[in-house]
Symmetry: D2
Subunit: 430 residues, 4 copies
């Protein structure tokens, strides 16, 4: 799970960062009513209350219980209720039933958070440097873990609100309308060759970004920006959802059985398309990046365009020199926004806005090893039938993402901020 | 739906009763946290918040909107969200998704109730006698409707709490432990003959209790009291759930596919039986009436006992002269209690405690007619595949029940307070 | 199961009847290819091969094994494969998987039949009168049982063939087109009063037709004939499947979830209705009785007509004096046919053509007792959630039916030859 | 689909090969009863009759209809019934319902085969060299396609027979018991580096084996032989199915929901393991290669062993120099057999016996393009969520397999002859 390495910050800086990340989770909940914390709208979605408790349980389980002998949990059953999938820790309350629990109350969960935060401060304050070094990696993992759940809190509450014909609004706002028009789609060429791939450096990374290893890349071209709603609408209007030859077999099956004819959250009323956002139901903005697509839809769009999706290797290679700047959660848009003039015109919107589907199945890198303990269950056991996504989204923390970061979802998943950028081979356009 | 008839109370008495019934719904919610109002633990169950809103919608839809021209709904979408099954009124939000809605909030629903109550008072206060006569039947229906939902609020929240490994407590209390021992099972004989069956009188009744008509009854015997937990436990311990010959075919299928081996809410821990109640998980009380049985289980118990369940005709005939006294919701036990000495020893516990399964399918009486309007959907359309239950339960209002009252549920339903009393033919014991 | 009584035939006459019934099963299979014997098109349907074997197993199990000590089964596993639902006999191969078995082959099943028939003849030939008296009732039950399966063989193979876009033909023929036109719908009045109901006599009847008992009937009127395709088509064209107020709640749910908009086997091509029959896909005949309706559809049609379905008590009362003549399986039409002039114009088509749905749930008669042994599982355990049908169909043997006969199916079942006749109260038309 | 290339055989040799392949399909059916041809035991399985017809439809559709103007199909509906998944050709009869068809009969399907074979001979005999060159690639594709279905015919009939408690036998025989004992597991090292991967040559290959391209391989070690039943039994007995840490998350879910505790076809009776084979239920042979494993099980076994599965790149690299010799369908064992002395001891059983799961998801090679026409649907559209298997099995034709061949199945699939060989990194054992 955790790479040995230099963690460059001081103990007090870690404490500060701990408090920042923890309080940001609660800041994201500010617009919510108590009622909003409870709902599980599909098995993939967890109630907000559960996210708040589970991230707390993570620190309790992996740091407080083993390290602070005076630690007492407010309720020993929380270990059953808020364990997500760590079989090494014990049984778990069934995931699809998380929405059936009214207790502990939201207030009790906040008290649980406060309790754990206080105990964490006691632990961290009193701790010797030597001991701190030992648990630093768990601490940093816990913070990255909580940031991942912050993203899920936003995408999950969006899904919850969408079930409601009242279309609740998480944050009132006019979406940013860039006056500049979207530049035409153009291609930037990248040379191939033998290159290093995977994480290298002194900071934190997840185990699935390692080990860094050599790969062979053939030359390729990458699109200069994300695909927009307007472009995706052209695909729909050209009958894209009705041409089986554009689709993977599993994709064709699911768009038919699920009656999918547009991205998740697109709503057609009186022949006009709207898009459900965290700011409510808004008219579809043609210049905004398309989002909430499954892999199947992204792949079909690429096929229709006569090209393909990038591999994770290509994407990462192209992103290497770039600063991870963009439309992140700190910008509080909670929605992708049209391309603007501030980025390198050759390669824009690589970070933030939407996670970009790659054509790469989520597999272990050569030499990848799973950790022995419970944290070994963090990433490795999901390495089948999922696809890699890159770049982060408008719901990702800016200090959470990097070019080597590998997100992964099943190809049918759509409720994250997922979009696409095109790629093609050099020379023959496909 | 509504029988023409004398409604003997004055206008102001009706207003008083309206306010009493309405406020009792809210009183039942006093022990709940906001979180508890939201959960739908299975499709049959509705969130408490929904019950509060739906009963309010009933008055809004059938009285305020047609009668009070100045009436404005706080939200026109409530007509979609809180219509249960009245197709004549319009489409309905899908029943199995009632638990996916976080809005309107609980507070907004209380405001909705207050709004409707105020408008109802305005309407009732200003109304001429003539006009009042016209809507009286709807008013009384609305109150009986709300009483039915009060019962469901209790049985639904019990089901919700049971999903939670924390076993929340609705009302702390020691259950009433009668010092008297349960009398032995004995039989009271009733003569048969041609008798009148169905409602007769000036008060309110549901349409399904009419028309009163002649039936032929053969002589029969009825058990003196409800079957107890102790007696049902003997059935379990004798292998009752493992002997197919005791079971209806559909019942045998469901106890096997559902792995049922005891009533709903019975929990076996370390070889000791407990029972989940609205006062939490308590040791099983052998003297208490057994409850939360399906029809299949009640029928199998009767077969095992060598006798049978009563028909609804027999039960009603036996109950004719009796006062409807017993353990009702006003007693605030929210659980059946052992028989005591206060009732006629020949025939005890006929009213209250638990609804008693009869062997009678829920069918229309000869000459039954469905009302033309939307209220015609109240009872008649459910007359297939369900069974009649009699007598009310510990969650029923005492002024809601009568001997002719016909409750009905599918034979597999168990989450109401459902129990049984035995019957047998005269002479041959079966 | 079996009523004690006089079985008036001689031993040799029984043997003759045994051979007749047994060979008729095989005659019904004459048009089938080996491949047709194998298919199970839904869990309710059994492969023809299974019917042939199961009816044989019945004689083997209830007569040969207990009575003929030299009897050896060709394969002891048949007892597992061909037991339908007799738990007292042992476990059963799962019903929904009957179509997964390719062995024993059809030829082996015919050999099994021959083996059992030979052994039955040995047994019956050598048997003393005393012993014969003892097993006579099982013998007669077995023959009636086989006749029931003969009907299922026809309705099941029809369902199997309907899955096939080649629309196979069981029996080529032009359906009987009566030149006479269908008489208008008219009503015959029957007086009520206290009457006897249930079987009485010396012949065979099923246990569920007993005990004969007194009932009270109110005066009623019964339609003179079956409802025709043309009349049912009017109901469809008047939007009958789109008006929720006509439907029972469970019925409305199933026609929507199952997308039912016409009887089973009706096929609309180029705006013209056809009907799949055992003679293939034929143009819909407006004068023929409508068939393959669920109870819900029959009930909705009656509601739309402003009247109702008869009760089983009314139907039986009306049928008392009538000869059971009509369009039975011996006529080899295998399809209901238009009314003709040969019957009493007041009350036609009571027997044969289609089973008539009644509004009566399938319940035990007062005093009904289930037999102790395995045959006690024959009828009684199905007495929940099903409805009674009367009169037999074009797939019923003429000597199998009588006015007291109670057939029963779930209200959603449609694959039998099921149709309807209307009834109404005297005086008020409903 | 079809690589341009030299097809080295003469026209008459192709005709000969056509007839050989076609008649081999029928030879495989020799042991079957008519009844066996019909059954579909799960959606993945097709009835034998369907395989015979579908492979015939393939030649009819892609060669006869476009090339032979006088060609007439025996039944135009066959195009609907026997199209598998070629959307470009038209709609298809739903795959999960293939077992609901009794017609066309088996005999009619054989007549269909004969008809197409005759027409093919007419076409091929009369054809000019130029025209023949044009359709040669379709012809060869059709033959390879039929060989794939020959394998499926065997694995599907095995699954069908397994549903039957009579355990039918496809081919009576004593399985080959090698007197030699299985050699200990040992490792052969392979150097890494930049190597060519994918098909190169003049013969036929599938499109998914191309384009040949450079890859980087790290040094690795491959096990000398297949894992045996005995070794897999040790994994079971060590609690392998009960340790979540050994399993991929999806795998853990499926072994629990499906109650898997051993390979498909293993049967435990009286504490003794048997294995269902095409020769019936036989005692488990510890020396035989384990087969009928899902990817999840193969992966868990490798984890338990402290090593891993090979990638498809490693496997193919290791197999490059080897002759594709082994236990193929021509040997008519229809079951994997213990290792023998005839192969290179360093690397045995690479071809034949069982398909070997690799850790490589089934993805397009860089530069892979899908063909324009209907045959473009052959392979490419399945490139999501499946895994690559290598080497062929005891049900594969020896002239069908090669080192570059990529078979693919979902990770939960088990009904093919699927087994495993281990691999590990050089130096650190994992």
């Amino acid at each position: 799970m955790i790479k040995p390495g230099v963690f460059p910050m001081s103990q007090s800086e870690y404490i500060k960062q701990y408090l920042q990340v923890r309080s940001f989770s609660e800041r994201l909940c500010a617009p919510l009513e108590t009622e909003d914390y409870l709902i599980q709208s599909m098995p993939d979605v967890s109630p907000t209350r559960w996210h708040l408790a589970h991230t707390t349980w993570f620190f309790e389980t992996f740091i407080l219980k083993p390290e602070l002998h005076t630690y007492r949990s407010p309720n020993e059953r929380y270990n059953y209720l808020f364990n997500s999938y760590y079989n090494a820790i014990g049984d778990q309350y069934p995931r699809p039933k998380r929405g059936l629990l009214s207790r502990p109350t939201v207030q009790e969960v906040y008290a649980y958070r406060q309790h754990v935060d206080q105990q964490m401060q006691i632990l961290l304050d009193e701790m010797s440097d030597i001991k701190f070094d030992k648990l630093k990696s768990f601490l940093v993992l816990g913070l990255n873990h909580e940031q991942q759940h912050q993203e899920l809190m936003l995408t999950d509450i969006k899904h919850v609100f969408f079930q409601n014909p009242l279309f609740p609004v998480y944050q009132k706002q006019t979406l940013d309308e860039s006056s500049s028009t979207t530049p035409p789609y153009s291609w930037t060429q990248f040379g191939g060759g033998q290159v290093k791939h995977g994480y290298s450096g002194d900071g934190f990374c997840f185990d699935n970004e390692t080990p860094r290893h050599d790969i062979l890349l053939q030359p390729f071209e990458l699109g200069n920006r994300l695909i927009t709603n307007g472009e995706y609408l052209s695909f729909i209007e050209a009958g894209g959802y009705k041409q089986p030859k554009l689709w993977l077999s599993d994709g064709w099956a699911i768009i038919n059985s699920g009656k999918w004819d547009s991205p998740l959250y697109w709503v057609k009323q009186d022949d006009k398309w709207s898009e459900f956002t965290l700011s409510g139901l808004l008219p579809l903005q043609p210049e905004s990046p398309v989002t909430h697509l499954s892999y199947y839809e992204a792949d079909a769009f690429a096929n229709w365009s006569g090209v393909r999706l990038p591999s994770e290797f290509e994407w990462e290679f192209a992103a290497r020199g770039l600063k991870s700047e963009g439309n992140f959660v700190e910008g509080q848009q909670f929605h992708p926004r049209p391309v603007d003039d501030t980025q390198d015109p050759d390669i824009q919107q690589m970070f933030g806005d939407v996670w970009e589907w790659t054509r790469s199945p989520y597999s272990p890198y050569p030499g990848f090893k799973v950790d022995e303990g419970a944290v070994g269950e963090y990433n490795g056991k999901f390495m089948s039938s999922q696809m890699v996504l890159k770049g982060g989204s408008c719901a990702t923390s800016s200090n959470h993402i990097r070019s080597t970061y590998r997100n992964f979802f099943y190809p049918h998943s759509r409720w994250q901020f997922m979009g696409l950028r095109l790629a093609r081979d050099v020379g023959n356009g496909g």
